[in-house]
């Protein structure tokens, strides 16, 4: 109730009074959560109603044997040290059964951006990927602790090399700036003091190790609190800081709903996060069930990042595809999985749409249209009787009009050709 008081836009979307829940709404939901889905699945989601559709897209079913098999494949590849293949294995999972978990993992990969280029230990990268997958939907504090104490992060931000004599500030700084609070909500002294408190976190035999002898046990003042803090205390202080809820909630909103967030909406999101008990899946469900999510201003308002675009097109087609090549193409478009450009992650939004990026995206459409003969070897498993108009609507989020008919006719009967043609349109860059 407090949420509604703060911002009406976050109130639950009441089907009927606030608007319908029909095929368009189901498509909007599935495109944002799963990056895309087949026309048949869109229709089923529409038929299930809002609550049923949310249950379905945010399914809490455990990993199937097939998914477990893919995770085991990832672990094997990581031991082999093949980064490209690991990215390909992740995309294969993305085309699988629980896309929302993968999508959230991608969100957190962008948030806790860690790159194999520096970590240089693919096993550690794969372990981090599984943490993001397993804990990405759960309580934020637990996710943060797992990620922070994981070898990939300890190597990435040099925490493992920090000593009381020369405390390394990298992790402490990014913890506040990028992982929990954002610029302007901590002071330089907080970074220095937190860096002292974090000393003693180390690596031994490729695992987190607590080394009390390398810990600066003195008094520190961090975000206004005073004590002989250690690393765990730093995480707790950062999580408890008032700004943290809003920071994380806004970022999720920008990823799943829309980019523009005003002051009022920001406070509302923070309150919603509190009501959700800081559990990401609970927050996300409330966010997706809000009036804001179904509002006109949120429809088709986000730029698809390269993974969202590629996965969206291929999930629409229920495709089997050479994911090694796909990972390469997606990396060419600027999103190299396991290799974000910096600790800030990727530049999202319209930054994806520079000239080379747009041409690459349009060319990805041509590659998909090339089907099995092209390097992506795309096979669609859509029912042969699936109508072009339904594919069009599932992918672009609106029904074709009279002018679109020619496009449908030209691509008939191959849905791959249709999706490929649609990817030439500006609308395809958005979802």
């Amino acid at each position: 109730m407090s949420v509604r008081a703060l911002d009406d836009r976050l109130a639950p979307y009441r089907v009927g009074r606030d608007g319908p829940f029909g095929l368009d709404e189901a498509i909007h939901l599935a495109r944002r959560v799963e990056c895309g889905a087949t026309p048949a699945r869109m229709a089923a989601l529409a038929a299930a109603g809002l609550e049923g559709a949310l249950d379905e897209v945010l399914s809490d079913a455990p990993a199937s044997p097939a998914e477990a098999g893919l995770l085991a494949m990832g672990a094997r590849i990581a031991r082999r040290g093949d980064t490209d293949a690991l990215a390909a294995a992740w995309l294969l999972r993305f085309l699988g059964e629980r896309p929302w978990r993968e999508h959230l993992a991608l969100f957190w990969h962008d948030h806790f951006a860690t790159s194999q280029d520096k970590v240089a230990d693919l096993v550690a990268m794969e372990v981090q990927n599984r943490i993001l997958l397993e804990s990405g939907a759960g309580p934020f504090a637990a996710l943060l602790e797992r990620v922070a104490k994981d070898p990939a992060m300890l190597l990435w931000l040099d925490q493992a090399a920090s000593t009381p004599l020369r405390p390394n500030e990298n992790f402490a700084r990014e913890l506040f700036e990028l992982f929990t609070l954002g610029r302007g909500h901590y002071a330089e002294s907080d970074v220095l003091e937190a860096a002292r408190a974090l000393t003693g976190w180390s690596l031994r035999g490729g695992r987190f190790a607590w080394r009390p002898e390398a810990h600066d046990a003195g008094e520190k003042t961090i975000l206004g609190e005073r004590g002989a803090f250690d690393g765990d205390a730093v995480l707790a202080i950062a999580v408890a800081a008032p700004r943290r809820r809003r920071f994380i909630a806004e970022k999720l909103c920008r990823w799943f709903v829309r980019e523009e967030i005003d002051e009022e909406l920001g406070s509302g999101l923070a309150a919603l996060m509190e009501e959700a008990g800081d559990v990401t899946a609970v927050f996300l469900r409330r966010l997706l069930a809000s009036r804001l999510f179904f509002s006109e201003a949120a429809r088709g308002a986000l730029v698809r990042n390269p993974v969202q675009l590629a996965v969206g097109a291929l999930r629409t087609l229920d495709a089997r595809v050479a994911t090694t090549e796909l990972a390469r193409r997606v990396a060419d478009l600027g999103l190299a999985l396991f290799r974000p450009p910096s600790v800030e992650g990727w530049r999202n939004g319209t930054a994806w749409l520079d000239s080379a990026g747009l041409v690459g995206r349009q060319n990805l459409g041509v590659l998909i249209a090339e089907g099995e003969d092209g390097p992506l070897r795309v096979r669609s498993r859509l029912e042969p009787e699936t109508e072009g108009a339904a594919v069009f609507r599932a992918f672009l989020g609106r029904a074709p009009d009279e002018e679109d008919r020619r496009l449908l006719v030209a691509a008939h009967p191959d849905p791959r050709a249709l999706v490929g043609a649609l990817m030439q349109e500006p609308e395809a860059q958005l979802h």
């Binding site: 293949a85 050479a322 070897r377």
Partner: protein
């Protein structure tokens, strides 16, 4: 320039024709070719060539794993098969192909016509085979029976055969062999024709033939040069070339002889070696021997590598020098005598847990003449290298390598192994690498696996099923199919993984593709190649051994 379609046609002719029935006159097909061609090819039994190609186990295995090798998927292969079907009636006996590469390249063909289909039928089929369906009706000269099809060529029926040429003067020459001299009358051809093979070719004057041939990019890296430069050098020096091919079941092989001027001083390639440095054994998968003077090669590396590779070479030199810090790499090489051998064997795993990817082990051997102090410095360099790996790995939280020594008889082995990774799922060594080195008599042996090195040292010098092949001099190598297949089977899971990722196959589809590929390859028993030099002749042999029972 020869039109690309024509080049394709030439390739088709070489590959496609089949048959096996001798229906023509006694006169050989090559005897219809004039003697001033740059290249003449005779397919004595075109059918065998086609069958060998079409049913080759490697092609079948390739097709199972990758549609690009599948006749029903690949457009080029489909085109090839269609062309073969079209032209089959003319390929029931020996055929000859002639080629002249001067200002305008020209192509001549001599084919059989046992069914009496005639020149017009041939031209029409040929036009379709090279996809010139839109060609007009052939026009004929009633006097000499020569038919012309614009954009394709001329053909005439003679003595139960079809003679074809891309240019009228060439066809006229073919019809006047008695006056002008026939290619078949050349002494070198007569010599070549005595050997009973299915394919033979002679290029009496190689330089003009190669003049416009695009040899592709020269190898850009050091190892490419190390492997391929002798071939390029042979080719450069050659005046003429002879090729013979056998395509009978059981054994298939190509033998290329390049006849050059007297061998140039061999510089860094050497020939004539006595015994094998690395005796093979039951675990051997294959081996490679290169007669090179590495010291000389290294000294001249910047001139041998094309400009494009120099940047990388300078970086490589820096890297290798870091590894050999404290010892001059040139000095190390100077202590080596010509001749390098590589052996590949099934790996032995020292832990109870095997790695996901079971790579084979390999060893590299040189003959050396280092004195004791030099040997010690080399050993120290080995330890430095391990130290560098550890220092680097330590920064990245990786497991260190532990050094140890072992002994086989009098020989001391230096080796290192990774300490087991305590992390879950990582206990297995990533590449089961246990790098090792030893000086054994005049041999310096480096190996990726200590167990392999011990194995080699325990082996009598002439043991194993392939001892005879081990001893052959010159460049050479072989791969044995059976143990290699076993290795593939052992790596089924990672292979299946990569088929799923690289081809987008479902798990069961990937499994089926692997089974089909393994079944096809099981017909293969081995592959070998060699290069020998004998005075003016460089001889390259490639051969496949097939299992005739399967």
């Amino acid at each position: 320039m020869l039109a690309p379609r024509m080049t394709t046609a030439a390739a088709l002719i070489l590959l496609v024709f089949s048959g096996g029935v001798h229906a023509q006159s006694e006169r050989s097909a090559v005897s219809f070719l004039p003697d001033d061609l740059d290249l003449a090819v005779e397919l004595v039994r075109p059918g065998d060539v086609w069958t060998a190609f079409r049913s080759h186990p490697l092609l079948a295995a390739g097709a199972a794993l990758d549609p690009r090798f599948d006749f029903s998927e690949n457009a080029d292969l489909r085109r090839l098969e269609r062309a073969w079907d079209l032209l089959r009636p003319f390929a029931k006996g020996p055929i000859a192909v002639g080629f002249r590469n001067r200002s305008t390249p020209r192509l001549a063909l001599v084919l059989g016509d046992p069914e009496g289909l005639g020149a017009e039928a041939f031209l029409r089929r040929f036009a379709r085979a090279i996809e010139k369906e839109d060609a007009p009706t052939p026009e004929g000269d009633p006097e000499d029976g020569i038919l012309q099809l614009e954009g394709v060529g001329q053909a005439v029926a003679r003595e139960g055969r079809i003679l074809f040429a891309t240019h009228p003067p060439l066809l006229r020459r073919m019809l006047r062999q008695d006056l002008d001299g026939s290619f078949a009358a050349r002494e070198d051809w007569v010599e070549l024709a005595t050997e009973p093979v299915e394919l033979r070719a002679l290029a009496p004057d190689l330089p003009p033939l190669l003049a416009k041939a695009d040899g592709g990019d020269p190898p850009k890296d050091l190892f490419g040069v190390l492997l391929l430069a002798p071939f390029a050098a042979d080719l450069e020096r050659a005046r003429s070339a002879r090729l013979q091919g056998r395509f009978r079941s059981g054994q298939q092989g190509l033998r290329l002889e390049l006849v050059g001027e007297d061998p140039a001083p061999e510089d860094w390639t050497h020939s004539g070696r006595a015994t094998s440095l690395l005796p093979s054994g039951p675990e051997t998968l294959g081996r490679l021997q290169l007669d090179r003077d590495l010291a000389e090669f290294w000294r001249r590396r910047f001139e041998l590598v094309p400009a494009a590779g120099r940047q990388g070479l300078a970086e490589f030199t820096q890297g290798i020098n870091t590894f050999f810090a404290g010892i001059a790499f040139d000095e190390v090489l100077a202590g080596l005598r010509p001749g390098t051998e590589v052996i590949i064997e099934r790996n032995a795993f020292e832990t109870d847990v095997e790695p996901d990817l079971k790579l084979p082990a390999f060893a590299l051997a040189f003959r050396h003449e280092m004195d004791e102090p030099m040997k010690d410095r080399f050993r120290a360099a080995f330890q430095t290298a391990i130290g560098i790996i550890n220092a680097d790995g330590g920064q990245k939280g990786r497991q260190p390598m532990l050094q140890a020594t072992a002994r086989v008889g009098e020989v001391e082995i230096l080796a290192a192994r990774f300490l087991p990774d305590p992390r879950e799922g990582c206990r297995e060594l990533r590449y089961n690498a246990t790098p090792a080195m030893a000086f054994a008599g005049d041999r310096l042996i480096l190996s990726s696996s200590r167990v392999l090195l011990e194995r080699i040292l325990r082996r009598p010098s002439a043991a194993g099923p392939t001892a005879a092949e081990d001893a052959a001099g010159g460049d050479g190598g072989y791969v044995l199919a059976e143990p290699s297949l076993e290795l593939l089977r052992a790596n089924r899971t990672p292979l299946q993984d990569s088929l799923r990722l690289e081809r987008g196959l479902e798990e069961d589809e990937a499994g089926a593709a692997l089974d089909a590929a393994l079944a096809a390859t099981s017909k293969l028993r081995g592959f070998s190649f060699s290069r020998e030099r004998e005075g003016r002749i460089a001889r390259w042999n490639l051969s496949f051994r097939l299992d005739p029972r399967r």
